[in-house]
Amino acid sequence: MKIIVVGGGMKAYFLAKNLISMGYSVTMINKDKEDALHLAKIDRATVVHGDATLPEILEDAGAHTANVVVALTSSDPDKLVICQTAARLFGVRKTVAIVNDPGNVEVFKTLGIDYVVSTVRTISSLIQQSVGNETIMNLTPVEEGKVMILEVDVNTEDPISGKQLNLFEMPHEAIIGCIIREGKPIIPRGDTTVSSGDRLIILSLPQVQSATLSAIKRKVD
């Protein structure tokens, strides 16, 4: 599987390294000569120096055979043109853009970009959801924060500790999807009992997230 990563400086550097270590074939395109030379130091990476909003540069990078194009350039309009050119002229199946302006998420989706991520929205929702919630070990927004995955550790004094799940009341828009007990994952059923030391992996809609937490955890003032 071949992935083209456009722009992005150090973000591209680490993304490419990661993808290569996962076994993907990676080609990077960068307008800046210094950045391109730096990226070329990555083992097994191919780097093209040029403006990827021009079809000939995407062609040089082998867009015909690429499965995915990821646009990380600094300008949103550039990202749009790169993804559209890749999809329309070269038949790239999946295009991904990381946008600056959160308002562009809907715009890009309407204009045919397959996967649009707003770092601003993701970080804002992380901050909004996790500030004051030291009890949450990890919080992952899914689909631009429409669904949240929470990881919560259970202590002896927590209301859920020692409870059997079908007898435990929590919001309907949240579910405990997995329990990590002594390093092993358990998919819980109604008759599963939660004990102290468990880590709960909860799937929740954002609007019931705090209600879910207050049902599970002891109040911290």
């Binding site: 909003t53 021009l54 079809p55 000939e56 300008s75 949103d76 309009p77 550039d78 749009l80 043109v81 559209q84 050119t85 329309r88 002229l89 302006d101 308002g103 562009n104 715009v107 309407t110 204009l111």
Partner: protein, 152 residues
């Protein structure tokens, strides 16, 4: 401003035109279309850019931090008959033109694109494009070829 729009609607020959990018091209078009009796709004990121507008321009100017969808909403794009994307950046013009056409269904959309190879991607969209590079090239070659005709 609302009264002005109502007035415009009554006058059927006058059109509501949005020009994004107040450079040399944008400001000249704004002046001409405004002098011809149209309602013209010019959008730019730089307040200084509006100084380029000629005296015959009698429309509105909107300064925006970011050239994007929200700037178009501020300029009442849902009422526009024509949008002209004439910033100095090809890709911004391509994006603005698509937002106008695909999201707001503006009847006539024109984009200035310097680099002709970029246009291959958008041929099937109902967006008119002007490439100064192609125009200048054809003017120059016409001039030379015509000169050749005269000599021969």
């Amino acid at each position: 401003m609302a009264a002005k729009y109502e007035e415009m609607k009554k006058n059927k020959t006058s059109k509501y035109i949005i020009i994004v990018g107040c450079g040399g091209l944008g400001s000249s078009i704004a002046g001409q279309l405004s002098a011809a009796g149209n309602n013209v709004v010019v959008v730019d990121r730089d307040r200084e850019a509006f100084k380029k507008l000629p005296p015959e321009f009698s429309g509105f100017t909107i300064m925006t931090e970011v050239i994007g969808k929200s700037a178009l909403v501020d300029s009442k794009i849902e009422q526009a008959h024509i949008l002209i994307a004439s910033t100095d950046d090809d890709n911004t013009n391509i994006m603005i033109a698509q937002i106008a056409k695909m999201i707001y269904h503006v009847p006539k959309v024109i984009a200035r694109v310097f680099e002709p190879s970029r246009m291959r991607v958008y041929e099937d969209l109902d967006i008119e494009t002007i490439s100064p590079t192609v125009l200048a090239a054809s003017v120059v070659s016409d001039s030379i070829l015509n000169e050749g005709d005269v000599e021969s």
